[in-house]
Subunit: 186 residues, 2 copies
């Protein structure tokens, strides 16, 4: 279908994204982004994090809002459950990344979405983080994401949407492939 | 130093964690946890996620609170910036995981913390997610975490705290090593 004929409205400005792709193809240095957060320890396992600016399109980018996040461990770990656990933040990141991708790909493919809901679950053997068994990893043994999607499309087209979203998802890549992390003390 | 002689108060109940380690060593099936989130698409790249219960210690665990999270893309991506980006959620998860670990290890080592602050930055070449260059990964090229720690300890002991926290961090493992992710459409 020609894009100009589209009456699909998923709220994603695909034309702007295609224009950005075109512009960045000719100016790859503008595609170099830096995403940031700051974290401050409060007490015990409780910390507060903020997300504000980032760098991209060759300059510092400011936002209207500062986003605030509390993280903690739950009461079964003798903590106070003042926020989601750090690993739950990763699950939120993965689910929201795939969901945004589904909306963007649907818009591009002229598929009207009515509702998109995901549940995500990560298995963890906490013998790893507790240092009981060094053969057990600290992180998730595996993650399962399950989508329920109501859209103006055949099931195979909906499955193809989800597959394409995975293929372009930043967080899916971060979780499924290794990333180099440097931790320093100033 | 003997733990009984400790006057260090970082707010982490190390005795309870050591007791849990002891108990779970004898009952490894209780160490099998499932962490969860639910995500609902709102409009465009904007979604709302919730974190509530989890499974662990052999049963469903409820919380007093439901944690709520908005995720979106920023205005430079033609979105409405209604929440942090998914990749920033990963940064919050990593920083808060390492920070909780630093507090726990410090308590265990009888080191009084006064303040712990982290900044975290992930580099991303968005030619990956935009599909401009298939050799560019979608996720972070690398992540740098920088700690500023004021504690009743020598610099080398502070550096050792941070190193031990990395060694036991669930999110550090998730980001630096691959995890299998299954995405299904129900």
């Amino acid at each position: 279908m020609a894009e100009s004929a589209s009456t699909v409205q998923n709220g994603v400005n695909v034309e702007a994204l295609l224009a950005a792709r075109e512009a960045l193809t000719n100016a790859p240095q503008a595609a170099q982004f830096k995403w940031r957060a700051a974290c401050e320890w409060k007490d015990g396992t409780y910390s507060h994090s903020t997300v504000e600016g980032f760098f991209g399109l060759g300059e510092e980018q400011r936002r209207k809002t500062t986003f605030n996040f509390d993280a903690d461990h739950p009461e079964v770990f003798a903590s106070e459950d003042k926020g989601a656990t750090p690993v739950e933040y990763v699950l939120v990141g993965l689910a929201s990344c795939l969901t945004a991708g589904i909306a963007a790909v649907a818009q591009h493919r002229n598929i009207q979405l009515r509702s998109v809901k995901a549940t995500i679950e990560g298995d963890m053997d906490i013998q790893g983080i507790l240092g009981i068994d060094s053969d057990v990893r600290n992180g998730f043994g595996g993650i399962k994401v399950s989508y329920e999607i109501d859209a103006d499309a055949k099931r195979e087209d909906i499955e193809a949407l989800v597959a394409q979203s995975q293929k372009r998802s930043a967080v899916f890549d971060i979780v499924t492939n290794p990333t180099n992390v440097i931790v320093e003390v100033r």
